[in-house]
Symmetry: C2
Subunit: 521 residues, 2 copies
Amino acid sequence: MKKRGTIPRKIKGFRDIDADLNEMRQRIIQAAAKVYRSYGFEHWDTPVLEYADALGKFMPDEETVDQGVYNFKNPEEEPILGEDGKELRDAGAKAIMEHQALAMRYDLTAPLARVYAERLWDDVKRGQIMESNARLFRRFQYGPVYRYEMKLAPGRFREFWQIDFDSVGTKDVAADAEACMILSDALQAIGLDKSTFIVKVNNRKVLKGFLFSIGIDDDEKEGAVLRVIDKLDKIGWENVELELAAGRTDTSGAAIAGLNLPADLIGKIISFLKIATGIKGRKEVIEKLEKLVAGNELAEEGIAELKKMDAMWEALGFDESSIVFDPTLMRGMAYYTGPVFEVESLLTFKDKRGKTRKVGSICGGGRYDGLVKNLLGLRVPATGASIGVDRLAALLQMANDEKVKAEGPVFIAYFDDSLQTKYYEMAKELRQAGMDVEVYCGYFKGFRKMKKQMSYADKKNCPAVILLGEDEAKKGVVTVKNLKLGKELSKTISDKKEWIAKVQKEIPMDGLVEYMKANFA
Amino acid sequence: MKKRGTIPRKIKGFRDIDADLNEMRQRIIQAAAKVYRSYGFEHWDTPVLEYADALGKFMPDEETVDQGVYNFKNPEEEPILGEDGKELRDAGAKAIMEHQALAMRYDLTAPLARVYAERLWDDVKRGQIMESNARLFRRFQYGPVYRYEMKLAPGRFREFWQIDFDSVGTKDVAADAEACMILSDALQAIGLDKSTFIVKVNNRKVLKGFLFSIGIDDDEKEGAVLRVIDKLDKIGWENVELELAAGRTDTSGAAIAGLNLPADLIGKIISFLKIATGIKGRKEVIEKLEKLVAGNELAEEGIAELKKMDAMWEALGFDESSIVFDPTLMRGMAYYTGPVFEVESLLTFKDKRGKTRKVGSICGGGRYDGLVKNLLGLRVPATGASIGVDRLAALLQMANDEKVKAEGPVFIAYFDDSLQTKYYEMAKELRQAGMDVEVYCGYFKGFRKMKKQMSYADKKNCPAVILLGEDEAKKGVVTVKNLKLGKELSKTISDKKEWIAKVQKEIPMDGLVEYMKANFA
């Protein structure tokens, strides 16, 4: 039988990020971080690995709560803690030990709740903190998150980056309104044109209040209805109606059970959801909703919040061309309790079969007033949002005509052993003038073929190559080849001599820094 | 019995990075990355989680090879691969499945070897790549690495950040010489004064050749001797001699076995190691070594490499005040094969007991020509170095008189509900003028006590607070309180009125942006 091999490979769904993709990733992160910071959020970081129970089960997509997280056993045996944070002990007063469950963080919100709870834990135990004076904490964070997804659609990964900002300890929907503006500002700073996306906003309170008023009044029923509505984007109106009614058969032939709601109830739900169809004006949508939910306290509270948010946006220059109300917006089910928001890209792309497809949702967030409760026993109000860095990078790549390439260094070719030190001296001088410069050091002498070096410089997207051989050294010159210009001109100039004359220049050695600064800095 | 609790907590050895520490971390990373990039290294990233066998067992500290890595079982069952990369099958031709071992990366070098090997794997299988034409790959990478250390000394963590650069596919020690210069440049860019650190360089080949020439000629013996020498910094000359001889008893009373080498051999080893004691001149050290190892091929090769490196440094302005040769330098044992280098901080600090202590090694690297072999079957030469980001951050904090604090935003206090929108408008204008600005949104109205707000702004290191209440609004002014100046003046001014007069200014509303720009931008 064949022997087991050690094959260089990555775990399925994990990937290496090359210089080009990293360039995109860093651009997105730096731009978004700058905007977040400008609103007063400070930069925090948390571990990639946490105790599973301290992260809780708040996966954005509820269907993957259990399978969707990378869970491992801690190799270290540790005491189990009781509700007071002290070790549990057996009859002989010995600490009860266990290899506790660890988890790779599946988002940046659950660790935030842990950070916040951990910092207040002692105060809360001493009774010094109540819900009404839980302190304000505004932070942003970026980094990889992990999802153990069984089915990996193309373009989906198990390790991907997010950049989040959150305000914990504020009940004021001004913070929610601000979050929508921050997303809009950040996406523009990242390079998206304002006309290519729209922020959609809803308030869970309004829908919950409405459902209650028509008799869907327990959590289980309500949850089932919300889950069906949440699928609207994927399955469309007709199938939503079917799933609220007797159920349907999906494209694979599988039977999907329905909720068996009475037809009049379904009618009410659908017309509530369609209330904003064709209406852009935020105030008009509010007016219509207001009439429909009049008398339900929770819904009216939600409406008041939407009104306040609308007024702030109006005063600050965010009209309906950038932020709209959308009563169908659910944003998954896991932890949102009030306003929810999502940014939809209006761009389309052609898939492999040539079919035009929408890009769809690129980021979002909402209010989650219950998240800290699990850990702290206090219902600390919070709101925030997240941008999927890698998803946005893919979108930007798609939206650009040309693939974004990281800029390479100026390249100094290796010709002659006796000139090696000279190459490094030239590099140092150019570096001191602010340029990135690489002296070729590939394998070893004898194998430093010029063709190989040029292909290396080309792949690395170097703007220029500096050539210095014995002949040049004697004449006191160097040859500079403009790779960027060369690529461009090769499209229009077919004559090799003409091309070389334009692309290659002989420069006196002592004028090299000046020349390079003028042309490549 | 008490019930199990869900306590907000982190895994031992893992920590949260707050805004101040993140400020240091990012400064270090940005500065080092800029220098690495200026030498032509491109930015790559790899997964945090990998197949354990693809990372190999190359822990820098050999003693922790097995226990030192976070190993987990992959929750996914997958086919086992044979040496050709194809699935192993049982008698019934069914793929043999297994939950394979995963590992958190323990450094950034092992994943680099995996990246490099993975990219060449197909070519190597087809026989298109040999050692002599393995392609050059120069990348830098930063991020967290993980060590499952059982004993955690103060200031040591199980998750910490590194920033590495490496050249794979070069046999030329010019790349090693360059690496030492890059470390020196990077540390200065990070903010270390050149006079506070020194790069120490050795070449494994010289020591190996020397040991061979005195009869220590098998790998096992040699390894044992190197491991003892590696402890020199920790245990001192006397104990090194004892461990080469009959052994010793350590401070805890534990017996440490000796190698039982004959006295004359120990004498030779010690005088070899002490050859550079008191000598700073690189050429003098080389001369002495040269005489001692004359006739041994490997050692002479090593000497020639040191000579080449010395000549490069001399030409490029790195004299003995920045780079020295140190024959005692080992750099652990795991994968180095030629030149090794380490940067020693010359700074000292006072520990908790008031004892003056050396900071010691802050970064290092070396040549590891065998690392890719495990995965690719080819001995591809490589060299590189690593800066311990978190360790350096701690050092910089220590070296600075004051703790580095992240700068907070300009803070707009919340006084009056009717002015809330105005607060956000002011913030927007100031933001457009380039400032970071936060409008307070803590808990909710009624709980927005001014004292709480001021303490929030103070903790967040805000430079200024803008106050706008009803009275000010009527007068068309705002009050600006200079928190920075306030802190300073509170050291010298005890009169409250005088202090307020200096720290607090009433500014006409329409002159606010100008005033803030002039004083806080």
